[in-house]
Amino acid sequence: MKKIFLLLSLFSIYHSLFTTVTAQNKFTLSGYVKDSVSGESLIAASVFVKATSQGAYTNEYGFYSMSLAPGNYEIVFSYVGYKTVTQSIKLNADTRVNINLPSSANTLKEIVVETEKKDANVQNADVGKYELSVDKIKTLPAIFGEVDIMKIIQLLPGVQSGTEGTSGFYVRGGGPDQNLVLLDEAVVYNTGHLFGFFSIFNADAILNTTLYKGGMPAEYGGRISSVLDVNMKEGNNKSYHASGGIGVIASRLTLEGPIVKNKSSFMISGRRTYIDVLLKPFITKSKFNGSGYYFYDLNAKANYTFSDKDRIFASGYFGRDVFSFKNADLKMTIPWGNATGTLRWNHLFNSKLFMNVDAIYNDYHFELDASQSNFDIRLYSGIKDRNAKIDFSYYPHIRHEIKFGVNYTYHIFLPSSVTAKSGDVQFDPARIEKKFGHESGIYFQDKYTLSEKIEINAGVRVSMFEQVGPYKKILYGFTGLPNDSIVYGPGQHIKTYYGCEPRLILKISVNKHSSIKASYNFNKQYIHLVSNNGTTLPTDIWVPSSIRVKPQMGNQYSIGYFRNFFNDKLETSVELYYKTLKNQIEFKEGYTPSPNEDLEESFVFGTGDSKGIEFYINKTIGRFTGWISYTLAYTNRHFPDLNTGVTFPYRYDRRHVLSVVASYKLNDRWTLAGTFVYQTGIAFTPPEGKYFIEGNVVTEYGSTNGFRLKAYNRADISLSFEGRKRKFIQDGWNFSIYNFYNRHNPYFIYDKYDGQFLVDPTITIQAKQVSLFPIIPSVTWNFKF
């Protein structure tokens, strides 16, 4: 609470500063921009004074505000995929203008990466920010026909994928836990279904996605590499609709409509795979009858508009993967997944001050239940958050866009835990140690247009993390064995970390079509994901900062040149970045998992750095659209206790990454699209030598990540067809071919041993490269009522 007061007093000082500076007469033009048909808020729509660079963008709730000197203005409202609306406004008092933009559905759609205002990429003081609209990625190729925003994000410069087909992403040399993924402001801790092959984001339920890979605004905190902010659809507040699709492995259905017309709407969307149903006939006959796998998602959202000043939203996500295995004497089910819930209240104090209050709950849970004869075992791990935040947007002057707020989270970490039952005897080992933490942040940022040419986006975030009890800290003697412990009571302070995180972006326009942007970011991250696997799996465990584990820290510097050609039809940029990471975690050498251990005793700590150059060419307008991105990067890690202290490449250190996305609108109904990816192979630690112990071949490994798999390349194509608009139904088809030249990309390498020591005359070891996805055609039928 103290923080809120501090924040408000800071704000009032700042405010009084402005009122003196901007004492001349100005009036505020504000309002909401919405879709004329569905009433959905349009995020980041541009509102500009014609023929000037003065203007604003709508915020996450479709609200805009700007202050102008009195006079007559032509205001241009525009948004990708919508018709531009120009309105004459006579400004002689504070004025509210709400605009409903009609969709340009039947004209040529610009595809994928949005350009709100044609030269926004050059003239905005945003760096490393990309907005993706789901509508526009639906025509692109998708594996098994499942449209996935995460797969498109992996094609942007500076962003790359992990192993083949997975939807995890790695930003500028950062780890998978360093991305802040938000679904309606709730943190999502595990974004993958089916070991990451599909993301948890059901494209039908998603309205808008924003990625920040650099120049992270101060309103976001807690991660050091990137922010992926995903917003769910609000639902049509004018009429009822159903939409959905039937695909090769999953089907989707979305219902939306008004609760109270024009005031309130709902959206509910579900998706389920049916691999289990398809495989059932084969499994029933085998001895694994009862085994299967499926996943499902549910998204729901409702909102109510009380007045122009107040609006509330409730939204939630629930998704589970369920694997079951059954044979003669073993029965096992493994469910895992996320649940999130968000309650929001938007309030407009006046035309210049907008407030959003959130109460958020999220939960990631992994579980394994197995039973064999009389013995049952249950293993589980997870993380739960309770989160509250208040954010303010303040528009004191057309040159300023100010944001400030507070954020508080209570974390409950559940490390890998086991309970077991033998007959009717329950066995609960005492060493299951939950961990608890308070995380909080307070921030202030100002996007300030200093002059026609110079714009500054400066912010600061002060963050804090406190580990609290109940907790039992085991102390280890010099023999490495536990010899004492300290017990902390519930809520008792254990360790606090805090830090001041400055963020700065500077934009200097060279001319109307080109600019230079520089940015600096310092971020702290108080939670860590640890994995003993080569890839991220649902079994990976989140741990908090503690006495032993220090927060991760990231410094990022970037500078870029942005230039548009052909009347802003072609956007290009070149960006250089350098990033350093501190307090990175790995397992110590010789670590083998053991039950209910305190994982942090097995950690070693190190640093990382990444540098790179990114080229980007994007064409957003016309029949032919798409982009090319190329990244040259070097990413290393340094751990005094690993690889004999020698710096080694990060697993996803990829020298070259090239992505091409192209889409061509053949006519009103047919669209042809394709993607191409080339990436340097991922690094792995090669076996170098072998020796024999008790007749077994024992491996001697070379230097960490000292070898590379073969380069990865793949092309996909798709053809989409939009059916004629009939009275009740409109349908469409998407035909995709994944990996259409059937390249056998390396997925992993394993070694096959032939021969038995001292029995067979020879023992040979042959390395085998396994490829995962061959050419995969798929077809999806989509419909809309």
Partner: protein, 311 residues
Amino acid sequence: MKKYQVSIIKYNEGIKFRQYSFYCLLITVYCLLFSSCEKNITIDVPKPPDKLVVEGFVETGTGDFSKPYIVLLTKNSAYYSTFNLNDINTYFVHNAVVKISDGTDTITLIELPFDTAGIQISAYVGFGMIAQEGKTYSLHIEADGKTVDAVTSIIPSIPLDSIWVTYNEKPDFPDKVRLNCQLTDPPELGQYVRYFTKVDTESFLPGLSSVFDDALINGTTFTFPLDRGYNRNDTSIDFDTYGLFNKGDTITLKWCNIDKSHFDFWRTLEFSLGSQGNPFSSPLEVKSNIVGGLGIWGGYSPSYKTIIVPQ
């Protein structure tokens, strides 16, 4: 009480089970869903520097169970090179100076040819110094211009209280029996054990997971089932009857207390062998106690228990 203690061990197994079952699951799902494809490739890794590989043990025992000091000395080789039995002698290091000291006395081992299943190998063997519990033994080897050193302790033996077998563990296999044990663990933490089993007149074989520590069961009296030992290279291990013995078997259990670094060696080695071929595991370097080389110099203080299972 008994059931409770069985749970501890099962629960230990549960952890491994979690690891492996999850990998199995992953691979099964991949195979079910996607027609993956594999091909032979050549990985052109540099040959590692030559190292001496020690497999040497010092073991207490008298009478039938008395053992000489035995050290096998071999060399590492390039990982993807073919191992040929005819060239086996090129893997053994000859003419080495091998010395063992208990702090007071020092003996020099002599190289002797051995015949193992018709194949001639050589080993360094030493006599004339009695291995004793509680003593520390250091090993010093000079060969091929290299020197390696290692130290191991013989931990006082803590024999099992008793062993017995249980029947009808698997209704489908009525001839199979499970071996069970009871142990009283001393109050101090930090006991490490390696075990071997022997059926009839076969040789002693370690369990696939042959080492334990007392982190979870410290200071308690507990009972637990123990899996039969196997030759890991034996490809005929049947999953359905894994770990069980047969009616009519004469089972001898060798139960050895070992020191921490000896335990760490087998812990990492067995984990590494268990995850061989698993693409999702991280490479794990086996923790050796040989300074300047690879392998193990380990002390054992075995205790034995025998049970004859009726037909």
